[in-house]
């Protein structure tokens, strides 16, 4: 719902790091996005062109690296893929589990010239 603000944050982070590295242009941005982060990449991409217009990030490719939701079962000492947000271990049926990944939302790297 607030993808516009989020897109502005991504652009600000990218521009800050680009300037630090004396870049003339940002070519590509790699964003890590967990399936449980609650961010719709489609909408972020939609705002991206608008937000980066007239900046050195204009025209930069916005690449999302999707991170699946994975949990760890303390009983089985094993990780498992979470489907439908169900944190119950599919092997032992217990819920003594913790989330390992899926909440990521970060600018991982940028490609500049």
């Amino acid at each position: 719902m607030h993808e516009l603000g989020v897109t502005e944050s991504i652009a600000a982070i990218c521009l800050k790091h680009a300037q630090r590295n004396n870049a003339n242009r940002i070519i590509k941005v790699n964003v890590k996005l967990g399936d449980l982060a609650g961010i719709v990449d489609h909408y972020v991409s939609f705002y991206w062109d608008m937000v980066t217009k007239d900046t050195i990030a204009q025209g930069a490719e916005l690449n999302f690296i999707k991170v699946p939701v994975v949990a760890y079962c303390r009983g089985c000492e094993e990780e498992f893929a979470v489907a439908e947000f169900d944190l119950t271990c599919p092997k032992c049926g217990e819920a003594d589990t913790e989330l390992v990944s899926g909440r990521e939302f970060m600018v991982e790297s940028i490609e500049i010239e």
Binding site: M1, H2, V6, S9, I10, I13, C14, H17, A18, N21, A23, V31, L36, A37, G38, E84, F85, D86, L87, T88, A95, D96, T97, L99, F105, M106, V107, E108, S109, I110, E111, I112, E113
Partner: protein
Amino acid sequence: MDVEVLEGIFDANEKIARENEALFREHGVLAVNLMASPGAGKTSLISATLDRLAGRAQAGVIEGDIASSVDAEKIRTHGVPVVQINTGGACHLDAVMIRQALEHIDLSPLDLLIIENVGNLVCPAEFKLGESMRAMILSVAEGHDKPLKYPLMFSESDVLVVNKTDLIGMGDFDMEELRGTVTRMNPDIVIFEVSCRTGEGIEAWTSWLVERIAEHKERARRA
């Protein structure tokens, strides 16, 4: 040239959230981020809780709304300090708004600070405020299928208060199904069933909250 960035998109917010959290800890204040859809009963639950808390804990309230001070006026009648935040359109509170609100409230005499977030079952879950506890309300009228439709809020909350239990039986709401779904998504969540209208379950919730306040104070004292 590739440049490694590794910067979280919510990092700026989370840095300020950590500062708020330190401030709450320093004053031994349990800060509760209360989230729910519009009309689930956030203000009603705060009112009912404040009535029960009288003489047991000193509470303060931060009211977050897109516009108006209707809720703050209601809460003020309970004789507790209230600060109103108007987000001016934003669909959630963030850590900076809380920091600004804290300039208008004295934390020293408080044991508990209830932060009523903007009515929304989506965005508030993504923004940390520096709270000690995340609480959410789901009302019976909203239906037992909401956890699967709004998973983040249910996954992130420490406690779920199911409100309007006096409406059970008037529709197809299934409490056992709700409990099952929520517990599978968030095994550690604590669930209370209340009706702010009849007062049912309010004492159990308030007593639990009083215990958490004592626990939090003890932890803050040791730190």
